[in-house]
């Protein structure tokens, strides 16, 4: 993480140096932003192309012959040739890749063998559930992680610091799917406090499907909008456990980063100045120091959100949560490569966008990075 921050700092400093040089040369302010933006867009385009190249290559090395899976084993040579041509498999690889990029840009990932619908439609249907879970988990992570990290920094080396460190270490060492199973075992199986796997009880699932209009695709929001409070309550009881489990991992990361960022701030001279001026200690910590730590912290939170999208693959499997992760794993077992690669590309794109967003936010909030 420090490496990443250092690199970001280097980039920012380089950009700043270039910016002042240009300013000295008499360039206008609005003009200096353009090359920076162009550079970002260019590297974004390269990264996305690289991502597509990797999925394309993965799609080529699959031992399943896409032609055979369409025409069946007893097809004649002519039939095989015909389908090969339809799929464009007789063209040079570079051309095939160009067509692949064109299709993806148009949102065409091919048809899913599993659901017999266009992959992009499937993704649109499954993605909201993943976003819902990742968002709730990030909320949990921020609500517990930020105050936890601040407390740890203020009481450095004493028991609040140690306990938060151990909590974080446990988070780094625990398999997320196992924690999910243990949560289900204790809070659903033994105590009956929460709902079981799935987004709703089976009885409510049908009601939700037919009576609640799908506005956002997130059960909690849709059922609240429709005023279906019975479904809403059921959805809450099913959501608590997976979002707490996933949120725990986000908390482990956020609290660790908050702690080190806060320690950095608390050692600065302006903190001493604030204390000398007679500012109350809570004000010094929660307003002065945290306010300044917030800038890099936003980056940390956005990055943890991105990593939750990944952690959700295992969590969704454990909780039978109908999100993109479950979709990808199910597709894997049906040897449905279109769906697997489509899902991979979408997750990769979201990941890249979030990284970009964290970069831009950093620049927007911290004037030194401009």
């Amino acid at each position: 993480m420090t490496g990443l921050r250092q690199i970001r700092g280097d980039v920012a400093r380089g950009l700043a140096a270039r910016g002042t040089a240009r300013l000295a040369a008499g360039g206008r302010r609005s003009l200096q932003l353009l090359p920076v933006l162009a550079k970002i867009l260019f590297s974004l385009a390269i990264t996305v192309l690289g991502l597509l190249l990797i999925t394309f290559v993965i799609g080529r090395v699959v031992p399943i012959d896409p032609v055979l899976s369409i025409v069946g084993e007893r097809a004649s040579q002519a039939q095989i040739e015909q389908v090969r041509e339809q799929l464009g498999l007789n063209r040079p690889l570079m051309t095939q890749f160009a067509y692949y990029v064109r299709d993806v840009v148009q949102g065409d990932f091919g048809k899913s063998l599993m659901t017999a619908r266009p992959v992009i439609d499937d993704i649109a249907r499954f993605f909201p559930a993943t976003l819902e879970l990742a968002t709730l988990a990030t909320l949990v992570g921020v609500l517990f992680g930020v105050p936890g990290g601040v407390l740890a920094a203020v009481h450095q080396g004493r028991w609040p610091d140690q306990s938060i460190r151990i909590l974080g270490l446990f988070g780094y060492s625990m398999p997320v799917f196992w924690l999910g199973l243990m949560g289900l075992l204790i809070f659903y199986g033994e105590l009956g406090w929460t709902g079981g796997p799935g987004r709703l009880d089976a009885s409510n699932e049908l009601m939700y499907e037919y009576d609640v209009p799908s506005v956002t695709g997130a059960v909690l929001i849709d059922s609240a909008l429709a005023g279906a409070w019975g479904i809403f309550r059921d959805a809450v009881s099913h959501t608590v456990l997976p979002s707490l489990v996933l949120g725990y991992f986000s908390m482990a990361y956020i609290s660790r980063m908050t702690r080190s960022l806060m320690l950095e701030q608390l050692g600065q001279e302006y903190i001493a100045t604030a204390r000398v001026k007679g500012a109350a200690e809570w004000r010094v910590v929660w307003v002065h120091a945290l306010g300044n730590a917030m800038v890099p912290l936003i980056t940390v939170i956005v990055l943890s959100y991105a990593s939750l999208l990944e952690g959700s693959v295992l969590t969704e499997t454990v909780f039978a949560w109908p999100g993109l992760g479950l979709y990808i794993t199910n597709a894997l077992f049906s040897a449905d490569m279109n769906a697997v690669l489509g899902g991979t590309v979408v997750v990769g794109l979201v990941f890249i966008s979030l990284n970009l967003l964290s970069d831009l936010l950093y620049r927007a909030v911290d004037p030194r990075a401009r």
Binding site: P175, G189, R259
Partner: protein, 308 residues
């Protein structure tokens, strides 16, 4: 703590000498002092004992196991822990869980060792080359690294395993292919700070070519930060391997891989909790060990990057 603490003033004095007489002695002094600093950190020592325990368990698996790991005994299926002869209980085929955990340590250790050797090697090669040559090579190599970093690791591993087919070898390959980019980043950053150092210019004036400079004079200085990263990464490697096993994409039955064992225990979670719980505990303890050791090693070998 170790043989060093034995009262042998001769060796102790040799190891703490301020004026080492040879390169070998200088290295030994360095290693000894690092070890002393590490030994003061009791959490790191806990981590080290867990890791050593795992290694011993893997070596002496046939002695530690009470039953053959694949031996099915349908009469004794799903016995709870502390039953006669099966102190951690049995699974759905009546196989002894303790014995399977013990043999599973071999699989975990193999995965970790293979990934921990290949990924850093590859990352070091890419990173030092990029940092040393700069210019177009740097741009190209780092772009490649960024592309791999842009993928969420588990998802990329999933897609790779989907393409190559499930199995433990392919899982190892997939994890290694997703694990190298951070090493390249670290190695490049170190190389750039070292590239213009005086001693590099000196060796260059003596006529050393790029391979010799990189291998002999840059790589050794990158090693300490790489070692720290490897140790911290090992927990992640174990967790990813277990995750792939859990999804059914890593090790295949009847191998006693811990993630796979959790996934088969999942079917009996509410009635026979121990089948899924016990292997999970094993994963947890082992990753905790690697994390504690990695934290301690970082404080000793790479104090700059410690979050303080």
């Amino acid at each position: 703590m170790g043989p060093e603490d034995a009262p042998r003033p001769g060796i102790r004095a040799w190891l703490t000498d301020d004026v080492p007489q040879s390169r070998l002695q200088a290295r030994c002094v360095q290693a000894y002092l690092a070890w002393r600093r590490l030994a003061q950190n009791w959490l790191a020592m806990v981590g080290l004992s867990i890791v050593l325990g795992l290694i011993l368990m893997a070596i002496f698996a046939p002695l530690l196991a009470t039953h053959p790991p694949y031996e099915q005994n349908l009469q004794d299926r799903l016995l709870p822990p502390f039953s006669a002869g099966h102190w951690l209980g049995t699974d759905e085929f009546g196989r002894d869980l303790w014995s399977r955990i013990v043999y599973g340590s071999r699989i975990s250790l193999t995965i970790v060792a293979l990934v921990a050797v290949t990924a850093p090697l590859f990352g070091l090669t890419i990173g030092t080359a990029a940092g040393f040559f700069g210019g177009i090579a740097d741009n190209l190599l780092m772009r490649l690294t960024d592309i791999f970093l842009a993928f969420p690791r588990l998802i990329l591993a999933l897609a790779l395993v989907a393409a190559l087919g499930p199995g433990i070898e392919n899982a190892i390959l997939a994890i290694a292919l997703t694990a190298w980019p951070p090493y390249a980043r670290v190695a490049r950053a170190e190389t750039i700070t070292l590239r213009n150092a005086d001693y590099i210019s000196a060796i260059r004036l003596q006529g050393a070519g790029p391979p010799r400079i990189i291998l002999g004079h840059i790589v050794p200085l990158c090693l300490s930060s790489v070692i720290v990263r490897v140790t911290l990464d090992m927990a992640g490697i174990i967790l990813t391997a277990a995750g792939l096993g859990f999804l059914g994409l890593g090790a295949q039955p009847p191998l006693p891989e811990w993630g796979l064992m959790i996934s088969s225990g999942r079917k009996f979670l509410f009635d026979q909790w121990w089948v899924a719980t016990v292997p999970g505990l094993a994963i947890f303890i082992v990753s905790l060990g690697f994390n504690l050791l990695g934290d301690g090693l970082r404080d000793v070998l790479d104090p700059r990057s410690a979050p303080r």
